[in-house]
């Protein structure tokens, strides 16, 4: 069982990453920089429990908030650019964060061990959950509690007026502005909330892995986190969840292929996009699900 719990744990963290890209994407913006917020969340939360000895919950909240605040700040300069331009700009942001952590040293001795972010040598001994006797399943519950709360909030957002505004900005910025929507506020809000969610993901991850370094938040993670919503679909918040589940299970499922694994993985991404260019759960699928639900006359949370 342990193995499946581990896969689900990593999956939960990656669902949060996918949701954070999704939150930004539904305003029509593409971010390749969510791994930067993830890194901030991980380092801040790690410092809280490992160096300052705080409880897990404030650590998660603080990591999340720090990432959200940075998201708020990053939201402004990136307002002027769109599309893949924005993708490149945000990737630049993610890299700057990564390079910053490469240079940050903040260590002290805790219980006879040198703990704390130590530049290129990484940040080890974030062993809160294992020291306190959390079992894997218990921590899995913590991760999925976070996932459910976030997914629930995203779901509420999508059904709210604000969500309609997000989508309106995606459809046509000019028209949205003319209809009286504050486009700036919507975009900055999207970045801020994306930052919060990615930060929470990072904070949860560092406690699971006990270790984080700059190499973990480089290009491959950026590509993975964008792939989740793209592959899963932008029609609903189920898209990034499904995308993350699909790709994580694929990574694990192909493991018996050893070195040939990633070749097949790449090929499957190409094939999926050829057959479903808007992702697996695209708008058309959502429509069908909605009409199906309506016909039965019972509202479903998926609709």
């Amino acid at each position: 069982m342990d193995y499946y719990v581990a896969v689900l744990s990593i999956m939960g963290v990656h669902i949060l990453l996918g949701l954070s890209v999704y939150l930004v994407a539904i305003t029509g913006q593409l971010s390749f920089g969510q791994q930067g917020f993830y890194a901030i969340g991980a380092y801040v939360a790690g410092v809280c429990t490992a160096l300052w000895g705080t409880h897990l919950v404030p650590a998660l909240l603080l990591g999340m908030t720090a990432a959200g605040l940075i998201g708020f700040l990053v939201g402004f300069p990136t307002l002027r650019v769109k599309g893949l331009y924005l993708g490149i700009a945000t990737f630049g942001f993610g890299e700057i964060v990564r390079l910053a952590f490469l240079n940050i040293k903040y260590t002290k001795m805790v219980g006879g061990k040198l703990v704390g972010p130590n530049g290129a040598e990484g940040f080890r001994h974030v062993s809160y959950i294992y020291d306190r006797g959390f079992t894997q399943v218990q921590y899995l519950a913590v991760i999925y509690a976070a996932v459910i709360v976030v997914a629930g909030l995203v779901h509420l957002l999508e059904r709210s007026k604000l969500g309609a505004k997000f989508r309106a900005v995606e459809e046509d910025e000019m028209a949205a502005a003319m209809a009286g929507i504050n486009v700036t506020a919507v975009k900055v809000m999207a970045f801020t909330s994306g930052g919060f969610v990615a930060g929470l993901g990072g904070a949860l991850f560092v406690h699971y892995s006990t270790y984080v370094d700059h190499d973990m938040v480089a290009l491959p993670l950026a590509v993975a986190s964008v792939t989740y919503p793209m592959l899963g679909g932008l029609g609903s918040f189920w898209g990034p969840i499904l995308g993350a589940a699909f790709l994580i299970f694929l990574t694990e499922g192909l493991r018996f292929l050893q070195e040939f694994r990633l070749v097949i993985y790449g090929a499957l991404i190409i094939l999926t996009m050829i057959f479903r260019p808007r992702g697996i759960i695209d708008e058309a699928v959502m429509m069908r699900i909605r009409s199906l639900v309506r016909r039965k006359g019972a509202p479903s949370p998926a609709a």
């Binding site: 599309g83 630049g92 390079l99 290009l219 790449g266």
Partner: protein, 293 residues
């Protein structure tokens, strides 16, 4: 003081010569974007695949370097054709993000194929310009870098002639201007797409050969490096603008070299990204691009 000045000049020379690489990679991306209105993130891996295919005649039969060069270019064209086939041809129209994902998939696929074949071990790439630097006054100049700058100029002139003087070039410009109208005028868009792929891949193969030679050793990691640098260059230079890509490439080269010399490697990459950020915020259309629509 005088020494600092000499250092600045030396690093600027190096930066300009090295920037020629960035410019050439950027031109490939920008040509591609001009015609297809899409990004090809698999361009870096295409080039890398070409370079590695060039190793086969070299290591198998100890072939002379011109054979290696031809294999590089031909190999890149073949791989480029595969990328077109797999990532673009069968995609349905009107999905902007889909080619991004298919080329990401291709990036992983090509990179890992090379890893499997070579175990990602470094391979030596012989340098036909030897391992000696030219001494010009107080400055050292790498002959291979000089060769890149010169061949870069030659490539650009050839490209200019191709774009401005040939029927192919006219069709290309027509598509860049307005694909719908070009099609009405009898330009086959799908044929142009394939030709553009062939052209950019050939340019990539030729650039890749020079890159590999100056690197001295090869590793699959250079694929994503080339893609990232190419994207940074076209954003700074302005999408679709060849002169913009050239200027941006040279600028990036000089900035990186000065930063490396005076501030160290830690600041080189940060400064490069800050430069990118500055352009995006202050001049989103890039050095020479049209204003963003």
């Amino acid at each position: 003081m005088a020494e600092t000045l000499l250092d600045i000049i030396q690093q600027s020379i190096n930066g300009l010569m090295y920037g020629a690489f960035y410019a050439l990679i950027g031109i490939g991306f920008t040509l591609f974007f001009g015609v297809m209105k899409k990004f090809n993130l698999a361009y870096g891996p295409t080039i890398m695949a070409g370079i590695y295919l060039g190793l086969i005649p070299l290591y198998r039969w100890k072939a002379p370097m011109w054979v290696v060069f031809v294999t590089c270019v031909a190999g890149a064209v073949v791989v480029g054709f595969i990328v077109e086939l797999a990532c673009f041809r069968y995609l349905r129209k009107g999905h902007e993000l889909a080619p991004l994902m298919t080329t990401v998939g291709m990036l992983i696929l090509i990179q890992e194929t090379v890893v499997i074949v070579t175990h990602a071990a470094p391979y030596e790439y012989p340098n036909i310009f030897g391992d000696e630097s030219l001494e010009v006054g107080p400055f050292l100049i790498r002959p291979d870098y000089l060769a890149i700058l010169i061949s870069g100029l030659v490539f650009v002139v050839l490209l200019y002639l191709l774009v401005q003087r040939t029927a192919f070039g006219r069709a290309m410009r027509a598509i860049a201007e307005n694909p719908a109208v070009a099609q009405l005028l009898g330009v086959s868009v799908s044929r142009m797409n394939r030709l553009t792929f062939a052209l950019t891949s050939a340019l990539g193969g030729a650039t890749g050969y020079l890159v590999a030679m100056t690197f001295g050793a090869l590793q699959p990691g250079i694929a994503s490096w080339m893609t990232i640098k190419g994207l940074v260059v076209i954003v700074i230079g302005g999408l679709g603008s060849i002169p913009g890509a050239i200027c941006a490439g040279l600028l990036l080269g000089v900035v990186e070299f000065q930063a490396l010399w005076f501030l160290g490697v830690g600041y080189r990459d940060i400064l490069a990204y800050l430069l990118l950020f500055a352009f995006l915020v202050l001049r989103p259309s890039g050095l020479m691009g049209r204003p963003a629509t």
